[in-house]
Amino acid sequence: MEIFSGLLNGFSIALTGTNILFAFIGALIGTAVGVLPGLGPAATIALLLPITYIISSPVTAIIMMAGIFYGSMYGGSTTSILLNLPGEAASVVTCIDGYQMAKKGRAGAALGISAIGSFIAGTVAVIGLTLFAPPLAEFALDFGPPEYFALTTLGLLLAVTLSGRSIVKGLILLVFGLLFAMVGLDPISGKIRFTFGSIGLQGGFDFVTMAMGVFGLGEILYNLETTIKTEIVTTKIGKVFPTLKDWADSKWAILRGSAIGFFIGIIPGGGAVISSLASYAIEKKYSKHPEEFGEGAIQGVAGPESANNAASSSSFIPLLTLGIPGNAAIAMIFAALMIQGITPGPFLVVEHPDVFWGVIASMYLGNGMLLVLNLPLVGLWVQMLRVPYGILAPVIVLFTTIGVYSVQNQVFDIYSMLFFAVIGYGMRKLDFDPAPLPLAFVLGPMVERSLRQSLLISGGDPAIFVTRPISGTLIAIFVLLIAGQCILSIKRKMGRKKKSVNP
């Protein structure tokens, strides 16, 4: 089995002192980057790219950068759970139940299960990568504009169903998310929309700016309404680690999330976001207590967290086997490889087997290292919640302010964040659940773009969406889900009518 021998070769490379060290450095930096707002893995890898010129072996450099990338997925969940601050789109779903768990004193359990789930998912994904990379990559290529449209629209539908209480409000936020995303340059027509002459808006809003504003600052503004000095956690902080019961509750969520994340993550583009959404929706459907979701159900954390970690590992597949980068951070790794004289693609495994297998082997290691790094930190993070809110709140403001500023060095971004903070505050006062907004913001542009591209390709014929197998299947799922929801709610209304008729 040449896969096996390749992998063994890879381990012999990954287990050298230098490579272990750099894998660890990457994991450490990645975790830190995931926790900090503003600086994302793509920007960090870009910053550190010059180091790869000095390191003589390209394998070592890639190992470090890969470590930064999937390490950031581990760190991203920390701020989502503790402070309701999603570092990037894939962490938004974690905020929903994670933060609720933190408020109930179960932050430790949330963080712990998130780390464990991420480890399992990452490892499962790397195993899948090892065994199935080439055929899956070819499958990813089959995703053209119509398929992207179907997939992202399905994602939007899932985003709305998360809003729980009111569909109308969820839809309003969805539309707002779409509109905010339309500010700036329209890639299909080249026109600039909704900027009203402002140069700062020409680039559009940045996700981090919006997330920090709506989630972080909006939450602070809302909490300031109570004059009593409280801590975030109102009840006593319980056990720091997840209990055996937590583990039993979550294990299926983790496994399902890993599978979902692995397959959807291969698709270049919105892989991680959509997989975390899909995982949350599926866990809610399969749960015996769906009403817990939104109030602190541990499966609502375990599933999506596993999904986005599996997705980040499987996003390496298109890079290593096809030479196609699936997101900004992977694009940086792609650039680094090119400058080192290595062209990623189907010949990578033949021409540079040490790079190919060395990186994959170190991903197994990296996941293990991240687990060891993150679990003990859980106790430390949880202590942060005990800081009095009077101090914590302005520090969060400082943190997010300079974090947002660090992205483009524009004070304008700080004003944008404040704009979103006011919106986030208004939303909470009017009883809106913020989650659909950032999700629509991320998915919206993809929906619009792929719709228009598909229509251009088909010459205006909408049949293109249903005649192609993959998009046809996805659209069918979409229709079934909506139909199912309608039937269910009609049944419920009929049931209520019956009850009121028969005393």
């Binding site: 900090l36 600086l39 009111s166 109308v168 409000k169 839809l171 309003i172 539309v175 707002f176 779409l178 509109l179 339309m182 329209d186 299909i188 027509s189 026109k191 929309r193 909704f194 600052l217 602070i220 503004l221 809302y222 300031l224 309404e225 109570t226 004059t227 000095k229 009077g390 101090i391 709140a393 302005p394 520090v395 403001v397 400082l398 943190f399 302010t401 300079i402 974090g403 500023y405 660090s406 060095n409 004070v411 700080i414 004003y415 404040l418 903070a421 006011v422 505050y425 208004g426 006062k429 009017l430 009883d431 619009e448 719709l451 228009r452 229509l455 251009l456 010459g459 205006g460 014929d461």
Partner: protein
Amino acid sequence: MKKSERIAAMFITAGGVWIMFYAWHTLKLGSIQVPDAGLMPFLAGAGLSILGIAWAWISRGKDERPRRFFEPGIWSRPVFSVALMVIYALAFENIGYITSTLAFMVAWQKLIEKERWGKTIAISILAAAAMYALFVYFLKVPIPPELFLR
């Protein structure tokens, strides 16, 4: 609360109508076959208009426990903190990072949290120092230089 929701809903509908106009007039709609820049915004605006009306509809009636949107005494703190943040943003590039951060922290502690002077100064210095160490020293984020150092 329901009254405020209805008012907000009306704003949303109005905004939706305005967006529809902007999309149609400035961005151009194109056709269903070949959508132009304005088609999606137009649909979004239409969606907002309809959803605004729907929201007003589900918020009809009286509240069980009436709560005002701008309850006196309570909403002043969030509004005040937004004002502080705006001033902070203004001062950021004009006065310099460290100075504006210190000023912001002091202002927050004193005016919003009503802390004692001793605690205020200690926390402000610590927080500003921590941010500086993390972002400027370790991450080399370029920051606006202090006014008195220029």
